[in-house]
């Protein structure tokens, strides 16, 4: 069975590697865009007690309490109904951004909330405005707690790309399905994709460890 999987991988490596490439691209784009969304939403929720903050809270709650598949379908079927046509790949990236953005915003908000209030008070007393307060005082101090969580979210994003299978994007799960349909060897085909996911995860975890040991966040830590 394992040797079947090994043979299948070499025989259909183009399909699998295209799947890996698409999955990594979608997850990477999703992470960058979700970081922007997450930072924005997190900061809004941290600073605003008004209507905007409430709207963002509803967004986060909706994303966290509904399946990603429903969100993917919502965007996949909803955008064309609004007259907007995106390719399946970009639909997927949009769904991943929408989803991960909410989770990252919670990490950002948590990181900002964990900073002692004295920092804000001191910055305001020194005459810093809201923008400078966030950019120069709060966000740099939140980064050491938020960034490790965000790298964890990237692993989650890789796993979430499997949902793009449902809208026919060639990613790792779809690659296994295609190979299975062609050869009728479904189990070995999926075993290959399983190993691919684990391999990506191992590499990512190694990179995260390396990055965390090199980043030298300890110098930012308050006594």
């Amino acid at each position: 069975m394992l040797s079947d999987a090994y043979d299948l991988f070499w025989q259909y490596q183009d399909t699998y590697l295209a799947g890996v490439r698409n999955a990594l691209t979608a997850a990477g784009l999703g992470l960058v865009l979700a970081l922007m969304v997450g930072l924005l939403v997190g900061m809004v929720r941290f600073t605003s007690r008004g209507r905007l903050g409430k709207a963002m809270a509803v967004y986060v709650s909706l994303v966290r309490n509904t399946p990603l598949l429903v969100q993917v379908y919502f965007i996949y079927f909803g955008l064309p109904a609004l007259g907007l046509t995106l390719s399946a790949f970009w639909t997927g990236v949009l769904a991943l951004t929408f989803n991960s953005g909410a989770y990252i915003s919670e990490m950002v908000r948590g990181g900002l909330n964990a900073i002692p209030k004295g920092q804000t008070e001191a910055a305001l007393a020194l005459g810093l405005n809201q923008r400078l307060l966030l950019a120069k005082v709060l966000l740099p101090q939140a980064a050491p707690t938020v960034l490790p969580a965000v790298t964890g979210q990237f692993v989650q994003l890789i796993k979430d790309t499997s949902l793009l299978y449902t809208i026919a994007v060639l990613e790792i799960t779809k690659a296994a399905d295609d190979v299975g349909n062609e050869t009728y060897q479904f189990l070995p085909a999926y075993l290959v994709s399983c190993v691919l996911y684990i391999g990506i995860c191992v590499v990512l975890n190694l990179l995260v460890d390396l990055y965390e040991s090199r980043a030298g966040f300890s110098k930012h830590k308050r006594a």
Binding site: P67, F74, Y190
Partner: protein
């Protein structure tokens, strides 16, 4: 407008038929997953290094592979071994094994945070290993981690949306069929999202309420 209303009533009917499947799958998968989690958590806290290593591999595999791929693996894998059990049992096995890995981590953490004195006192009083687990350590651990377990139940509810790929007609699949027929994605998927939201919200509220209670129990009140 009347079209939207008829679509809405269509979707509503589907949710009434589909929601019990979601709740049933969640309920039926939760307890095997908890059982796996307790076993895995105990093995992961054991003194035998080989056992800890094996449990570690199990958890690592499930944390790094997506559930959607895993359910296909079970679906195509079991028949290879001559086991033919149908899609519902396949879904339950896949959900249990996958969430059992996450619950292993939760229970390992719970056991680790339990005061060592509890176990030491029980040993001093002459309790056997089984008695210690049944009467002392497991009840306290489980009480403390109920909120995390309910959080995991929310993840199970969300993962049930994926079992349609092996041919189970749960609400996400039924909703998709209505959308393809009626071309009213917003009405149908909003109702669908609200249904999941309602189920998860109930679980989340329960988790928050129980968290307060669990904290009281742990602090000995």
């Amino acid at each position: 407008m009347s079209e939207i209303l008829s679509t809405a009533s269509d979707a509503f009917r589907l949710i009434v038929t589909g929601l019990p499947i979601v709740l049933l799958l969640t309920f039926v998968s939760f307890f095997p997953a908890l059982g796996i989690g307790i076993l895995g958590g105990l093995l992961a806290s054991s003194r035998v290094r080989a056992l800890r290593f094996l449990v570690g591999i199990y958890v690592y595999i499930f944390r790094s592979t997506p559930f959607l791929m895993f359910i296909f693996l079970v679906y195509y894998g079991l028949p290879e071994f001559g086991i033919d059990i149908g899609p519902v049992a396949t879904a339950i096995i896949a959900l249990s094994l996958s969430h059992g890995a996450y619950m292993t981590e939760i229970i390992r953490g719970g056991l680790g945070s339990l005061d060592k004195g509890q176990n030491e006192a029980a040993i001093a009083l002459g309790f056997s290993l089984f008695q210690r687990l049944r009467d002392i350590t497991l009840p306290q651990t489980l009480m403390a981690i109920i909120p995390s377990l309910l959080g995991q139940a929310i993840l199970i509810v969300k993962d049930t949306s994926l079992v349609s790929v092996v041919g189970i007609s749960e609400i996400t699949r039924l909703g998709r069929e209505v959308v393809i027929r009626t071309n009213e994605p917003f009405v149908v998927f909003s109702l669908l999202a609200l249904t999941y939201f309602a189920v998860c919200f109930v679980l989340e509220t329960a988790a928050r309420k129980l968290e307060v209670k669990a904290r009281l129990v742990i602090s000995g009140h």
